[in-house]
């Protein structure tokens, strides 16, 4: 049991980290009332920038490269998400439409530039990805240490910490109160003197930053290179985590961890003799079936922020 945990937990953490980060971005954006179907595209951008930056500057930054790469990915993700922000906040675009366009645009740009810059459809593998480490001190805690603090990506911890930060920011600070107010009842926020558009811009840019981070973390911990198939569906899984987690940062984190656990179990189970007779396909679809069962069984109805998806046009009802 102990050993099983020791082997499963780290895999859950590395698998879930990019989903957590991206889902947090989704939570910020949707809490402010801007639907973000574009999470997939933001991840693509993050993965692309993370890899390209890493390949290009590895000689300059040495072992710091992955860290600076994710910063670059966050910056570009933020800028990229501005497109979604401008379209859906300032131009009153249908937010779903804009998000879908973000997804196509990101993949288009990423692969186009890869081909133009590298002359081929995929980049080389990076020399300086993230590696797992043991967390000093904590790793020696009996029982818990080996399970949670040995052989873990620091980025996984960053993801978890950021989830708590997001919870604090959204539920404990004036900024969070205002952001949520804007997503529930923008006109009420407006009459209280809150700048609705500005809050939404900030939220969408945060989602770009976190989506970019999520994509870059995926690329630099798991894929090691960029191609059209590096990010395939993770953004949609992150979106599912946002909804599964009922638009709550910790809920979204829980949902992402649940996805990771389900995936990890489906891999682990196929090695367990007792389960060996189960058809492979059952194990493959188990993570998705479990999610449906969980939602149908006990998670149930989730209420989106009331003004989610509705452009705020001053002076209209």
């Amino acid at each position: 049991m102990f050993e099983a945990l020791q082997s499963i937990i780290p895999t859950v953490l590395f698998y879930s980290a990019p989903l957590i980060l991206t889902a947090l971005g989704g939570v910020y954006s949707e809490k402010s009332g801007v639907v973000n179907i574009g999470l997939e595209g933001l991840m693509v951008m993050g993965a692309f920038v993370g890899i390209v930056f890493n390949l290009t500057f590895v000689d300059i930054f040495g072992s710091w490269t992955p860290w600076i790469s994710i910063l670059a990915a966050m910056a570009v993700g933020a800028v990229f998400s501005l497109i979604h922000a401008v379209a859906s906040i300032s131009f009153y675009a249908n937010q779903v439409v804009s998000g879908v366009a973000i997804n196509m645009l990101a993949l288009g740009i990423g692969v186009y530039l890869t081909k133009v810059w590298y002359g081929k459809g995929q980049t080389d593998m990076v020399d300086q990805p993230f590696y797992t480490t043991d967390i000093p001190v904590l790793e020696h805690i009996p029982l818990i240490g080996p399970i949670f603090f040995q052989g873990i990506y620091v980025t996984s911890y960053i993801a978890i910490i950021l989830a708590f930060v997001a919870w604090y920011v959204l539920y404990k600070t004036p900024f969070g109160l205002r952001l949520r107010a804007v997503g529930e009842h923008p006109m009420a926020a407006d009459t209280n003197g809150i700048k609705v558009e500005r809050m939404r811009y900030i939220a969408v840019i945060l989602s770009g930053t976190l989506g970019g981070l999520g994509g870059a973390v995926f690329a630099l911990t798991i894929a090691s290179n960029f191609s059209h198939s590096t990010i395939v569906g993770q953004g949609f899984m992150a979106l599912a985590a946002v909804i599964f987690g009922k638009w709550h940062p910790l809920g979204a984190m829980g949902a992402a961890l649940f996805f990771g656990l389900a995936q990890s179990l489906s891999v682990v189970s196929s090695g367990i003799p007792l389960l060996a007779d189960i058809p492979q396909v059952i194990l493959l679809i188990a993570p998705y079936l479990l999610t449906i069962l969980a939602l149908a069984g006990f998670i149930g109805r989730a209420e989106a922020p009331r003004a989610n998806g509705i452009p705020y046009i001053k002076g209209s009802r």
């Binding site: 401008v86 675009a93 973000i102 196509m104 645009l105 186009y112 530039l113 396909v281 993570p287 989730a302």
Partner: protein, 349 residues
């Protein structure tokens, strides 16, 4: 006022397409390619001769259907990200019937098409049911159903339709939509009769939504569930119905691939993307039937034409994805285009 609105309704997409293409030209220039050559290649790739025209039509066919699938659900206020999975199971079911049954064409072909539609409908039924009865968000369920469709279909191909092979036999010719005659006049393109089915489906969607009591209810539920309930409509039934019909359209798209383009189904290592493209087609087509047909055609033309760009102009095909994305942005931001147009008109006076 209304004629003005109609004019804008036409102008906005046209302007969007033009700006999108201009932006594409700028990108080509910036990355060191010749935009004229690039677009010439795009044109040749889509309309160069009868072959490419045939292929363009073939490519358009399933896009119209998945566009309808997404648009139909949107009309009832539902977001069907599951068209992808519905395409896959529709494809599987159609080919399955195409392989397993021995019957004259007049029975076999409709049966196979129907099987595709029903399978897609079934795949839409579950998310609809969960949404209607338990309030579970259809977006997550449909995303999950996509993966389930993919893996289950692969398993069926491997263990039921074949003996551990990756591709099935070709379907019986009695279940095929392919037309030697159409192919012969298009230099052996894979054009098939499916386009007629797609256009018919668009007509059906228009008719249901705009002319029947079903459409009246579906839209009403999409706009306001409380009022619909008050008016005596069965909200749950309409939600389920909408997902089922949407799923059936997507299932038909799969059937077009299975019975028309390929005549087989193969183990897939990833999604077909037809369903995801359908979202963009639906949105670009403003969720109405005619719009979807035109948007599907635009997609088909750009995607088919893109194939010629790397060979003829050295431009990566992804340029087209960028252009399509930009067009979608501009259409979505029609508010600003309208605003500029109004400014322009005022300036004239």
């Amino acid at each position: 006022m209304t004629s003005n609105n109609k004019l804008f309704g036409l102008l906005v997409p046209i302007i969007s397409v033009i700006i999108g293409l201009l932006a594409g030209a700028v990108i080509m220039l910036l990355s060191g390619h010749n935009p004229i050559k690039g677009y010439a290649a795009l044109w040749a790739g889509a309309f160069g001769d009868s072959y490419t025209i045939g292929e363009t039509i073939r490519r358009t066919t399933p896009l119209i259907l998945t566009g309808l699938a997404v648009a139909f659900a949107f009309k009832t206020g539902l977001f069907n990200i599951g068209a992808e999975g519905q395409v896959i199971v529709g494809w599987l079911a159609a080919v399955w019937v195409g392989l397993a049954i021995d019957a004259p064409m007049i029975i076999h072909l409709p049966l196979a098409i129907l099987a595709g539609a029903m399978a897609g409908g079934l795949w839409g039924f579950l998310p609809g049911l969960l949404k209607a009865k338990l309030g579970v968000h259809e977006v997550i369920i449909t995303i999950m159903m996509n993966y389930i469709a993919l893996h289950v279909t692969n398993a069926v191909i491997r263990s039921v339709l074949t003996d551990q092979a990756t591709t099935t036999e070709a379907i019986a010719s009695t279940a095929s939509l392919a037309s030697p005659w159409l192919q012969s006049i298009t230099f052996y393109s894979r054009i098939h009769y499916g386009i007629l089915i797609a256009l018919f489906a668009a007509f059906v969607m228009w008719f249901i939504i705009e002319r029947t009591t079903y459409g009246y209810e579906l839209k009403s539920v999409g706009f306001n569930q409380h009022a619909s309930n008050y008016a005596g409509m069965n909200v749950s039934k309409n939600i389920i119905l909408s997902m089922v019909i949407g799923g059936a359209f997507a299932g038909l798209a799969g059937a077009m691939e299975g019975l028309g383009t390929y005549g087989t189904i193969s183990v897939m290592s990833g999604f077909t993307n037809l369903g995801f493209d359908g979202i963009a087609v639906a949105l670009l087509g403003a969720n109405n039937a005619l719009g979807v047909v035109l948007a599907g055609l635009l997609f088909g033309v750009l995607k088919e034409g893109a194939g010629e760009m790397p060979t003829a102009a050295g431009v990566p095909t992804e340029l087209v994805d960028i252009i399509i994305a930009l067009i979608i942005f501009f259409v979505a931001s029609s508010y600003i285009i309208r605003w500029v147009l109004l400014r322009f008109k005022k300036g004239e006076r």
